[in-house]
Symmetry: none
Subunit: 401 residues, 2 copies
């Protein structure tokens, strides 16, 4: 369902929808046991939920496409990630909870190392410490671009920072200075339009001053910027789906993503119990809750099969508390797969179940990939999960007479 149809059919109701996302949930079989992380985990509570649910596997972007964190979540929020594409700079800014203004242009920055000829010898400047990054960013923040334009710089982690240009008439249609390979020199930014040319000139002026400041700061003696982007002006969930949506997420990037589609995002502590507490406190204020759990992805990215299994079991031990809040619709899924055997995001379809009293539960009573593949939803686009939840929550009108 595209957003135009969603806007036409959505109606308000006195019902609650909860989307519980275990980041990077999907896995691959362990070479010795043949079991995925989810298959190996002892998950009696999730299995019982599966028995009461419609089950399947989702495709976040398209078959074979490995999603970044942005597209994976946007699909779950009902937004086609091939239509609603988020710029790298905006995602990076969201990740540090930077309050981007509509006219700001954000970019991702890397400190790097160059040799005497200006040739890049290390694109990450030896992964300097986050503390060193903060010191350097403090220095860069002194750079002035003169009347009308500000360059705001914020540290992220290690060699990474965010650059935000603030002023009137800036364009994000400008080229990266990052050649994305070793052995090349940093590029000058370029723009095609008049606004692009002017913005690129500001970037180049700023890089030039930054280079002078960094000259004696080796290994971080240069920087690269890429992924210039403005905050997108997207349809908001409240308007399209007539929901009052909230994000219950500890990490800023997920809160930032959620805000782009109009969710409120109260501060949340790091533990699952913190998320559940925020959920309970805000139960009456909202009717859609996106709850984010990070540790499954982190374990998968680290290639740590056993830790990913443990993290799934930790969720299983407390997920009953979610079900006990009796949302009209409870979805348990991931935003993408992060198989520990690959130690990276992957394209594999993602475990999904939806429980509701109006669900025509299928025969699946195990919450793991091979069992879910036999569910009645089959393998389906993740962006359809919100309309499906809306239907089960009595929030979609009939189409046509």
């Amino acid at each position: 369902m595209d957003l135009a149809l969603a806007r036409e059919l959505s109606q308000e109701a006195e019902t609650k929808i909860v989307l519980f996302v275990m980041d990077g949930l999907g896995g691959l079989p362990h070479p010795e046991t043949g079991r995925t992380e989810l298959g190996a985990a002892w998950t009696p509570h999730m299995d019982r939920l599966a028995k009461e649910s419609i089950c399947g596997l989702t495709v976040p972007v398209a078959m074979g496409v490995t999603p970044g964190s942005g597209p994976g979540h946007l699909a779950l929020f009902g937004y086609d990630p091939l239509v609603y594409n988020i710029g790298r700079g905006v995602l990076e800014a969201a990740g540090i909870d930077f309050d981007l203004q509509p006219s700001d242009v954000a970019a991702r920055g890397n400190f790097c190392t160059i040799d005497g000829d200006g040739v890049i010898t290390d694109r990450r400047a030896g992964r300097i410490s986050t503390e060193r990054c903060e010191e350097l960013v403090a220095g860069l923040s002194e750079i002035s671009l003169g009347e009308g334009v500000q360059a705001l710089v914020e540290p992220v982690r290690e060699h990474r920072f965010v650059l935000v240009l603030r002023g009137d008439g800036l364009s994000d249609e400008i080229a990266d200075t990052d050649p994305q390979r070793l052995g090349a020199k940093a590029l000058a930014s370029e723009g095609a339009s008049k606004a692009g040319k002017a913005t690129a000139a500001h970037v180049n002026a700023w890089v030039s001053e930054a280079q002078a400041y960094l000259a004696d700061k080796s290994p971080a003696n240069m920087l690269l910027v890429r992924g210039f982007a403005k905050r997108p002006d997207w349809p908001q969930m409240a308007d399209v789906f007539r929901l009052r949506p909230a994000a219950v997420a500890h990490y800023p990037m997920y809160r930032g993503l959620a805000k782009l589609v109009g969710m409120e995002a109260p501060a949340v502590g790091p533990a699952l119990e913190d998320s559940f507490a925020v959920l309970r406190e805000n139960w009456d204020r909202f009717d859609y809750f996106f709850v984010h759990y990070k540790h499954t992805d982190a374990a998968g990215e680290d290639g740590d099969y056993d830790r990913k299994v443990e993290k799934i079991e930790e969720v299983d031990a407390v997920i009953g508390a979610l079900a006990e809040m009796e949302p009209d619709v409870l979805m348990v899924t991931g935003d993408h797969s992060t198989p520990a055997t690959m130690a990276a995001h992957s394209w594999h379809p993602v475990p999904f179940m939806l429980r509701s009293k109006w669900a025509r539960a299928d025969d699946v009573d195990d919450f793991n990939e091979p069992a879910l593949a036999r569910g009645s939803l089959g393998t389906f686009p993740a962006k359809e999960s919100l309309p499906l939840a809306m239907a089960h929550a009595g929030r979609l009108r009939k189409y046509g007479a």
Copy 2:
């Protein structure tokens, strides 16, 4: 497959396709037994057909979308209901077998009750009897709009009627007079274009005279009209699919829908045996037959689980007669779900099987929702069922060299 591709690939053949639609067939589990209506029904004949068929569940419009009768059938006829959208007025006219002309503009009408200030106090005029509706419509039919435009009025049932404006240059892009809520007054119709303005003026003039006539006919002392629409000029099945199609349906609305895509629709008695007789009589004249069975939906809409089960069993007892006619392709399905537990149309996927000597039959040998969910077709768009049938009937050419 869209209609352009269908037009390119379709070819004639000496084969017969039968689409048997049990209206509102899909169901939900009974709270006590956990069985859907179809699961509870004793259906040995359908189960045997399933064993020889490819099986699955269809999505009529989109995941989570509850279809009206129009979209549900159009999808089965191979027309994407999100592209081929039928106006309320046209559907209502089809429902009474009104022979709409291409330039006619049709609307659905309701008698209603207003108070002394013109405020609507009952949008259905206390559901007056159909006889009273017929009397009032006879009076309204006397209203003359002067040179060049006629207002044709036909009773439907209880408080409902159809208004058709006939004349040259009329537009259906005009606004409803029905505010669709209590406590408001009837609206004046409005149009944006020149033709729209002129048509809206005719509507307002007619409503004004109608109001004068109805003034002393309380509770039906006013009327509301909505859903202005012209008969759509859609591609016809004979041209797109090179089929000679016939509708075997007792109820006018389904015959009307079928005519919009170019089916012939002979008169049919109310009993299943009447449908089969018409089928046999016309077997040589057509090569595609849409056979409609209404009672499953009616029972579902009434929330009568047991009656829906009975109606399914009644079909099962005689469906062998259909198979014995030896169509090259036999599809048995529904146009949408109408679970008795919901007493309404719903978004749940719809039971489907297709039998043909060229079908690669799967393992399913039970015609009910959980079994069909394991079929090789999975959960798929209903609009793909006709191309699938065409293929199995040797009526689709190879694509590409």
